[in-house]
């Protein structure tokens, strides 16, 4: 009976300890889980503060980058470039620095001319002058583009354009511009056609309107070696 009693007590003790251990174990376990979710209060506060500061800086960075991006979108419009390109194309047509096409007239001089088979340089120059006066935007003589500094001179073969290109009959002057205006200016009573017909009676001189002429680019642009731009 006494033996049984002590056994009971020791078992109760063991169970008591077991119970304690169980609870300790359970609570420790939940503590560990909680620690992974939450930090101690002071550490949490530090973490929140530093995150808040970092985010503040990042937000500032986002604002700065947005402003920078906006700055790029406002600079150098395409329309500005387009109008510059249009200007360049217009000037290239005028300067003879590009091939051009358009409507105009074609004047052909052939047949009996001077003894060497050519027309006088000043007659070629005067015809170009008349075409310019009639509003020609681009001129070519026998496939040579006439630019501001183009001149006509005598040469062994007869007539040169720009000094190094000897041109021979038939002389073909092509001019891009309003065809009717060009034609009527040249055909007027005291105009170049009548002058040339009077000077070269044996010549066949014709003027035709053309819907689409193609003139090559010039090969004698002015080289500015001495001239300097002035402000």
């Amino acid at each position: 009976m006494l033996r049984q009693r002590s056994a009971q007590i020791s078992l109760a003790l063991v169970c008591f300890l077991l119970g304690i251990m169980l609870v300790v174990q359970f609570r420790t376990h939940t503590r560990i889980i909680d620690r992974t979710l939450t930090l101690p209060a002071n550490e949490q506060r530090t973490a929140i503060a530093s995150l808040y500061d970092a985010n503040q800086k990042l937000r500032q960075e986002v604002d700065d980058l947005r402003a920078q991006l906006l700055g790029y979108e406002g600079s150098l419009g395409k329309s500005e470039l387009d109008s510059m390109v249009a200007d360049i194309n217009r000037l290239r047509a005028v300067n003879g620095t590009s091939e051009v096409s358009g409507p105009g007239v074609e004047v052909t001089i052939e047949g009996q001319l001077r003894a060497d088979g050519s027309i006088a340089p000043e007659d070629a120059g005067d015809l170009v002058n008349e075409l310019r006066d009639a509003g020609a935007e681009a001129i070519a003589v026998n496939g040579v583009r006439v630019t501001v500094n183009t001149y006509f001179a005598r040469a062994d073969g007869g007539l040169t354009v720009g000094g190094d290109r000897v041109i021979k009959v038939p002389y073909v002057f092509q001019a891009i511009g309003q065809p009717e205006a060009l034609e009527s200016t040249l055909n007027r009573p005291a105009g170049m056609i009548s002058w040339l017909k009077g000077k070269y009676p044996g010549a066949g001189i014709t003027i035709y309107r053309k819907t689409a002429l193609v003139l090559p680019k010039g090969d004698h642009n002015v080289a500015f070696k001495l001239a300097k731009p002035v402000k």
Partner: protein, 282 residues
Amino acid sequence: MAQPAERLEPEARVEPPVDLTSYLGQHRAAARPGRFWGLSRDMYVWALVALVLGVFVTAQLRSQPSSPPVDEDYAGRIGAETIARLEAEQSGLKQEITDLRKQITVQQEQAAKTKASFSEISDDLKSEQLQAGLTPLAGPGLLVTLDDSTIKTVPPGEDPNNYLVHEYFLRDMLNVLWSSGAEAISLNDERIVSTTSVYCVGSTILVNSTRLSAPYVFTVIGDAGKIQAALNDPAALALLKYRVQFYGLKMKVEPQAQAHVPAFNGTLKVRYAEPGTPAQGN
């Protein structure tokens, strides 16, 4: 039974569970009444009580000292949520920064390209403007002046036209000047450009649609020696020189250390000429 009083008490208090245990153990009692693994029913009761007591004591012990555990957990959970929210915000901001930087890089590359093409186009435009005579220029060269004759009375039988500077003299002069390498020419401050014509309406000479009158002054930038040599060539300007010699027309050539040629101030409209070859042939 001579037992201490303190021992009697638990015995008495345990009384009701005895019934419960006996009840619980009833079906087992059929096999071995009152015993299980060689232990009495009381033993199990005690063990159970001790276990429950142990659990309660420990739970009490551990929960007692940290008195506001609920509040701390709540604050901790709020804190954890805040941290999670801030961290999510941070990763969002970082992503946004990455995206913005990418966009800026794209814009910078485009801007660089635009800038490059802008400066290229700008250079092209300047060069074409220079070629077109839209830029005032200065440089060494000369002045060539042509003027009507100073003879007041035309002798009988002479054509009064022989005493005047005609527009074809001006054209011939331009032809010689260009042929001797002139870089830029103006005539009475009218810049000679590719569309310039020199023509006569009645007794008036028009250049760039501007009426000019004698004296006619050519301002030329170029090699003065070369130009003078060309002007002195007997084959050049023969009629003009004849009129100078016999009718009193005036021609004067003056080299200049620094000649100033103004910019063309008219319009260079292009309505018919288009760059390049058209789709339809002629």
